[in-house]
Amino acid sequence: MAAKTIISRPIYGKLSPQPGKHHLFVADAEGALAITDMAARAPVGFFDGAEIVFIAGPDGKYVAALEALKPAQLHLPPSFASLLPRLKQTLTNAHMGLRLYLAGTEGLIGQAMQVALEAGIDHTSMQTEHRGSLARRMQCVHCKGITENVTTQPATCSHCGLLLLVRDHYSRRLAAFQGVCINAEDRSEIPPTEEIFQ
């Protein structure tokens, strides 16, 4: 569970069924378990008006558990990039009364939220639950390149190669944590690398 360090560091909650006409879930990996846990608390018929978009990963784990919820639609894209056009289209055509639930890794939650914000949903109106990896999506503040799945502190920018301190400073607009050069004064100073975002 993420701890509040600075004000922009996102804090995630626990999915809870909201009143509404349509329910859209976007999840990856262990995020599926957040949906099945919530299903136990949802009113009868809740999933009749629900669409679940789930990035399962190669082993197809949890797909059967989600099928068992009998959602109106279950969509299984291979990656976030591949679900993006459909998600944008769904949100563009949606009406008020659609509720959004995001569950899984921070990268998935952040990027889905970024699209939803553009579609006009306030971030406080979305249900979020973090499950699984703590790996971070990081933006290098120097070259602006985004590095996915950062697990170490410090981390090397995959674009410009600077060694970056991964801050808790988070941008909802970019859906990324900020990475700042850790040895700007003396590049030969290389602090030890730790695996801390597992």
Binding site: P19, K21, H22, L91, T92, H95, M96, G97, T124
Partner: protein
């Protein structure tokens, strides 16, 4: 003491009867300068001095925020009220020097919205006059649904229809026209924000249906200035200032506290903004809560009161003032 606001010396530049119940008042600065900028949904508190008595009532600014040469308000005559609206209708004439507060907005547009859906009932139309003017000036996307008793009491319905055409939809009670609310709320594009101003019952109805149909609370905005209701006189001890005061039948608790020379914070004087929230130290009796600020739980607790609109009946009341 009005929190964060200062007063403006104005002169009444025009008084225009609009229909049987509503009159419009125009104010200009006495020094001829421009008035402070405001945004659609803002109100001013108008000081009404009548002999010994000063009333302070909030009214929404209804002019275009793009024009600050004057402020305009529309006042609905309330023959059964405490007399503020009657004072405006009967005593205020062009040329009268008055004092109004700086504008305060507790009902502002959320400009991140993709669309603004506005529901007005009766005199609740006034903030939407300013909001629609603001949005129209910026090419904003809005739709206004306005319910009035009869066409002749549909204050500014003609003006709005002429200005905005199909973006305005009118419903007349006497023709049995009703908003198909569930359908309206279910067919709005994602990113729509909802604004309601009108009678309390209408606001509650719209808020309830919006919540049931899945509108997040952040997207539902409402304003209902509660007018202080008259009631039985009651005595209050102000513990901090060491005074015991009597609240008259036609006086609000806030007005009685002010009359005793104590200067509590206030902003809207309509039970909306929360500035005058006051702690109850002890009481023996029952509260008559009329505000929209405290939660139901806080109302039941008997630990807090909004003196601008709420009253008390009973043996004793001690406030932290």
């Amino acid at each position: 003491m009005s929190t964060g606001t200062t007063r403006l010396d104005v002169v009444v530049s025009d008084v225009v009867p609009v229909n049987d119940l509503v009159t419009r008042f125009h104010f200009r600065r006495r020094d001829g300068g421009l008035l402070p900028t405001f945004s659609g949904g803002a109100h001013v508190v108008v000081e009404m001095r009548n002999g010994e008595r000063t009333r302070l009532n909030p009214y929404s600014l209804m002019g275009s925020p793009l024009d600050t040469r004057e402020y305009t308000i529309s006042v609905r005559r309330d023959d059964a009220g405490r007399g503020g609206s009657l004072f405006m209708h009967n005593q205020v004439r062009p040329g009268l020097e008055m004092v109004v507060s700086y504008p305060v907005n507790l009902f502002s547009l959320d400009l991140r919205a993709k669309k603004h859906l506005m529901l007005a009932g009766g005199i609740g139309i006034t903030p939407f006059m300013a909001q629609t003017a603001q949005l129209a000036g910026e090419g904003g996307n809005f739709e206004l649904h306005y319910t009035c008793r009869t066409a002749s009491l549909g204050t500014y319905a003609d003006v709005l229809s002429e200005r905005y055409g199909r973006r305005v939809r009118l419903y007349h009670d006497d023709r049995d026209e009703r908003i198909d609310l569930d359908r309206l709320l279910s067919t709005q594009p994602l990113g729509t924000h909802l604004y309601v101003c009108g009678p309390g019952g209408m606001i509650n109805w719209v808020r309830d249906r919006a919540a049931a149909l899945g509108w997040p609370p952040e997207t539902v905005h409402y304003e209902h200035f509660a007018a202080p209701q008259p009631g039985l006189p009651f005595d209050v001890t102000l513990a901090v200032s060491g005074k015991t005061i009597r609240v008259g039948e036609q006086q609000s608790l806030l007005e009685a506290i002010e009359a005793a020379g104590v200067d509590p914070p206030y902003l809207c004087r309509g039970g909306v903004c929360g500035q005058c929230e006051t702690n109850v130290i002890s009481c023996d009796g029952k509260f008559i809560h009329n505000d929209h600020w405290l939660s139901e739980e806080e109302h039941r607790s008997g630990k807090k009161i909004m003196p601008c609109v709420s009253r008390f009946e009973g043996k004793s009341l001690v406030l932290e003032r």
